[in-house]
Amino acid sequence: MRTLDALITESPVFKGLLPEQLDLIAGCGKNVVFESGARLFREGDPADTFFLVRHGIVGLDAYVPNRGQVTVETVGAGEIVGWSWFVSPYRWHFTGRAVEDVRAIEFDAACLRTKCETDPALGYDLVTRFSQVIVGRLQATRLQLMDVYGNGG
């Protein structure tokens, strides 16, 4: 059974963290399991957690009247689900659902926010890492929007 520290550094997002920082973050994390179909979080709920997916696929759904739940994106192994936790108003923008069985590390966002306030260096480091996650998602989303495979792609 590997330690949380080891599991966290598996993800490219947390690569290169100093041991003390790793301990701080690991201190806010715990292993979780979701069965296929289970809901991780709901659109609009307070964003008190975020996840590092270790196995499986998490779908980000939005409820669209007349269409029902629409999956706008899926997140897989090694990726982070959730950044609403450090951006006001700290609420989930989408609903998270396990598309397959999911094993993840769930982080207590409130716990981590407090640690960032007392340790600005850690805070800055996390913001940098999460900004990269957001930028990557934004670029991917833009490519999605371009609908390149449509007639004429």
Partner: protein
């Protein structure tokens, strides 16, 4: 890019050769695969990456990549998307109809470059058919590769091609296959997102990988970028370019992109050689 070396006198390279439609297969709502057999003489064996000019009697001609198994020569397989008059005519062909074929033209996927490496095939939309022959060959010579991976992205689940084959590929233990769609539907239980998202976590070692990429130009640009970020060097990424073609044999001028003629020097290009040309708008 150098001029082609071997002077081969080929009289009548603009004259189609008659092939019979043996079978047609509807791949999805707007794509069909035609299986063709020569009525008399056959064209030379076509390799992965190459294309034929397919002629619909009285309508016109279009360049279509081979999507079949090279080992099945002289049978030809071409997967065609019905977007214009000629492709619609080809896609509505029935067994017994005659289709004109000129080819094979263009260059091939450099499978030799992949020997000893992990081969990563990334297809976007109708980019999968031109990769399929390379995949077939890779499976035949699997022991010469260090790994084999397919990443495929489509617009929506109903736009995906070769779905049954995709399932068999995913089930294989000697290759990995990742599939994603830009937008899912109620029955879709797979990845949603652009195909580049599959790259960071795909199970290959970038230090020892060779990639072949096909799709709309912008998808190939983003994919090449993601592959580079993952650590595959530019000299080991190959793409397939497309431009309007009229002759397919380097004599009509239409497929020029700067100094290169895509029908003659391509359509397969190494990323570091072609990228500068793709950066010039409206070149």
């Amino acid at each position: 890019m150098a001029t082609v070396a071997e002077p081969l006198v080929t009289r009548g390279a603009m004259v189609p050769i008659a092939y019979s439609v043996v079978r047609t297969r509807r791949e999805n709502h707007d794509n069909w695969t035609l299986e063709l057999e020569p009525l008399d003489a056959a064209i030379d064996p076509i390799g992965p990456g190459q294309f034929d000019m397919l002629y619909a009697f009285g309508v016109g001609e279009v360049p279509i990549s081979t999507s079949g198994d090279p080992e099945q020569a002289p049978t030809l397989l071409h997967t065609i998307r019905a977007v214009g008059a000629v492709t619609k005519a080809l896609c509505s062909a029935k067994p017994g109809d005659v289709v004109g074929v000129r080819g094979p033209f263009g260059n091939q996927w450099p499978l030799d470059e992949a020997t000893g490496h992990e081969l990563v095939l990334v297809g976007g939309g109708v980019g999968l058919p031109p990769l399929r022959p390379a995949l077939y060959q890779a499976l035949v010579h699997r022991d010469e590769l260090a790994g084999l991976h397919l990443l495929y992205g489509g617009r929506t689940p109903r736009d995906l091609l070769f779905t049954r084959e995709l399932e068999t590929w995913r089930a294989r233990s000697d290759m990995s296959a990742g599939v994603t769609v830009d937008a899912g539907d109620a029955d879709w239980h797979g990845n949603v997102g652009v195909v580049t998202k599959l790259i960071p976590s795909a199970p290959f070692d970038p230090a020892n990988a060779v990639a072949f990429v096909v799709g709309p130009e912008i998808m190939m640009r983003f994919t090449a970028r993601a592959l580079l970020e993952r650590g595959i060097p530019a000299e080991r990424i190959w793409i397939s370019m497309e431009r309007t073609m009229r002759c397919g044999i380097g004599l009509c001028g239409h497929c020029q992109l700067g100094p290169t003629l895509i029908c003659r020097d391509g359509p397969v290009y190494r990323w570091d050689e072609i990228a500068p040309l793709m950066e010039v708008q409206q070149l």
